[in-house]
Every structure is written in C-alpha cells, then in structure tokens.
C-alpha cells in the first residue's frame, strides 16, 4: 500500500526526474508503447511538482528535462532489454494513478515501485512452456498443419520455450538464442511429424518456431510510427526484422538437417 509520509519538504528536481524515468524504464522493459510511457512519465513528474516536462523516449534510453520556476535539469536513464510483462505493466500504471490521487511522497512511490518489480507474480516456467506449445499447435492448425503434426508441434514448441528460458537465464544474445531455439524446435517438430507420416512436415517446422515471432514489438513499432514517434518505431521494426532473419536461419538449418531445405 502507498503511504503518505507527510513530508513537508518539496521533492527535489533530481528525485522527480529519476523517479519519473524509473516508471518509464519499467514500462518500456515491460513492452509498453511510447505513448503510454510518455503519458505516465510526464504525468508522474507533473504530479510530483514539476512545472515543465519534456521527455524523449528512445529505444535504449530515456531523456527528461524538467523545470520548476527558474530552475531546470536534464537527466538520462538507460533502458534494459525490452520484453513483455503485462501484469507488471498494468500494476505500474495503477501505481501511477494512485500517485496522482493520493498525493503520496516520492519516497513512498519509489518504495512501492521497487516492491512491484520484486513481487509482481509470474506464471511457473512449466506452465509457460505448455501454454506456448498449445499456442503454436493452434497456430499450426491455422496455417493448415494436419492433425498428425499437431502433437509434434505442441511438444517441440514447448521444448523450444523451455530451451529459450534456459538461454535467457545464461544471458545468451537474443538473436543467437532465436537461431538456436528455432533450430531445435523446427528439427524436432519436422523429425517427429515425418515419423508419424504427416504430409505437412514443412509447415509443422514453421509452426513450431512461431513462439519466437516478435508480435508485440511489431505492433508497438507500428503504433509508435502512427503516433508520431518514427525514430523509436523504426528502431523496433529493425529489431523485429533482424530477429526474423535469425529465426529463419534456425529453421533453414533444421530443414537442411532433414533434407527439406535447399543449400
């Protein structure tokens, strides 16, 4: 819970800038679009006492300039790897709304933000793996995979997701990880589907790697461009394109292994 500490002293410019950008950093890393980041950061800074706020949302950093009266400062904050965590994103937005309504101190808001990052629940790893497997099997049916290949797609995508989590824990580069996961999932799916007599081996290999398709960044890229932030949108689009190329290399290697590809 947010507590108003009843501090009489006004919040310093430094604290306003850094706390506002902490909201923005967490939202960016949770997969929010630039408009949301802009609204929350500028709104929080204003509610904490800033009279002028200018924010630049970049792909890897945030820069803010705030001012009160005749004084002003500019600060920059690095943004870490961008992922998707909708529950944290939602909680941070609710916290920003509570900061606005309860007039809590910056100190209390920072404590609450730290607690949210530490304690926002996540699903257990096995459940994520199974869910992703089911999603890819459903994707497979939408792409025209026959029923013989649905099981292989489900199991291979689940194994691929478990492998991806393992690589992320070891902090393997995301693009290299995409190739490795795509290779494992596509090869397993193709081998098993062929063994079961499926006539859609090629599509089954593609369906098993759809867990790697960066859907949220591609929609965010489009949103950012439509909402007047072409630089960030372009950066996201380039990241999506490079991920797709690395993913495809993994599928291609899998096809070569099974004799389905053309060297």
């Amino acid at each position: 819970m947010l507590k108003d500490t009843g501090e009489e002293e006004p919040t310093s410019l430094e604290e306003i800038a850094m706390l506002s950008m902490e909201f923005g950093r967490i939202l960016m890393e949770s997969g929010a679009s630039a408009r949301i980041v802009d609204e929350i950061v500028c709104g929080t800074a204003s509610r904490l006492g800033a009279e002028r706020v200018d924010l630049r949302v970049g792909y890897a950093s945030l820069e803010i300039t705030i001012g009160i009266g005749g004084e002003g400062i500019t600060r920059m904050r690095k943004v870490g790897p961008i992922g998707v965590n909708q529950r944290l994103d939602h909680e941070v937005r609710l916290l920003a709304a509570r900061v606005a309504s309860s007039a809590a101190s910056a100190c209390a808001a920072r404590e609450e933000l730290t607690r949210l990052v530490r304690q926002t629940p996540r699903y257990p790893g096995w459940l994520i793996d199974v869910s992703v497997g089911l999603a890819c099997a459903a994707f497979g049916r939408l792409l025209g995979v026959d029923w013989m290949a649905v099981g292989p797609v489900f199991v291979s995508a689940s194994i691929g997701q478990a492998f991806r989590r393992g690589l992320a824990r070891r902090q393997v580069n995301v693009f290299i990880a995409a190739t490795l996961v795509a290779f494992v999932a596509a090869a397993l799916s193709g081998l098993w589907a062929r063994w079961l007599g499926s006539r859609t081996v090629d599509t089954a290999m593609t369906a098993a790697v759809l867990l790697l398709v960066p859907g949220v960044p591609s929609l965010n890229a489009q949103n950012d461009i439509l909402e007047g932030r072409p630089t960030l949108g372009s950066a996201r689009a380039v990241w999506v394109a490079v991920t797709l190329v690395f993913l495809t290399v993994g599928v291609w290697l899998g096809q070569l292994l099974l004799g389905e590809g053309r060297p």
Partner: protein
C-alpha cells in the same frame, strides 16, 4: 458461402493461441479469459472475411478494427488494460509463417545454382510484401478506434 465448421475451428484456435501467448506475456489469470475472447473474435472476423473472398490484408484489417472497437467499448467494464487485450487478440494474426517462408526463399536464391530463381524471387517478394501490408493493416485497424476516441475526448 460460409463454411461454419472451419469458422468455428479457426475461432477456437484463435482463442487458444491468444490464451497461450497471454501466459507467455504474463497476463493476469482473470484477464486471460478476455484475451481468449479477443483472439477468438479476431479469428472469427478474419476467417469470415477470407471466406467471403477478401484478401488477407483486408480481412486482417477488419479483424483488428473489430477487436480494437470491442476493447474500447468493454475495457472500462472489465477492468483489463486496452493494450493487453489488443495485443493478445491480434497476436494469432501476426503472419510469422509468411515472414519465415519469404526469408527462406531469399536464402534459396543465394545458392550457387538456384532452382527456378524467377519464381522463387516472386514468391519471396510477394510473401514479404504480404507480411508488411498485413502488419500495417492490423496496426492501423487497432489504432483507428483509440485515435478516434482520443479526438472525441479532447473536444
């Protein structure tokens, strides 16, 4: 002519795919059901459009517009963030399979003696354009309801 069995099948697959990716994106348990509904709605509209002979881009645009509009109407009642429902609903329509096939086709062109290079190039470029236009159509379909609502609020 609408093939009801295929429509129901695609609707169910859209719902399952949206819920599956909802878990990956750490969407809360209560919101997961709404994500499933959002994905099912998207695939129902897209499949209907495709069965009526629309292009993939037009069907995807209509589906995204339907999801975006439904989310705008229901969002405050169900208490789930708009972005969450938009994204989860449209994820099953992201043409990742087409993108992978287009890039694989381009890889095939770099072989020392590619087979039917003209046809491969045409298929790859066609696939890549289809991916770009489909994602563009989805993003635009999702953005229109929220942009219109913002204009109304600002008046």
């Amino acid at each position: 002519m609408i093939d009801t069995a295929q429509l129901l099948h695609h609707t169910a697959c859209g719902g399952v795919a949206a819920i599956g990716f909802g878990v990956l994106f750490n969407i809360g348990p209560r919101a997961l059901l709404w994500c499933g509904a959002s994905g099912a709605l998207a695939l129902a509209v897209r499949t209907t459009g495709l069965q009526l002979g629309w292009s993939l881009e037009a069907a995807s645009f209509s589906a995204a517009l339907a999801v975006g509009s439904a989310v705008q109407i229901l969002q405050e009642r169900i208490g789930v963030s708009r972005n969450t429902l938009d994204v989860a609903g449209c994820i099953p329509m992201v043409p990742g399979g087409f993108a992978a096939k287009a890039i694989l086709g381009l890889f095939a062109l770099t072989a020392s003696s590619p087979q039917a290079p003209d046809q491969t190039l045409l298929q790859s470029v066609g696939g890549a354009l289809r991916v770009m236009f489909t994602i563009g159509a989805m993003g635009t379909g999702l953005a229109i309801p929220s942009l219109l609502l913002r204009v109304r609020r600002s008046r």
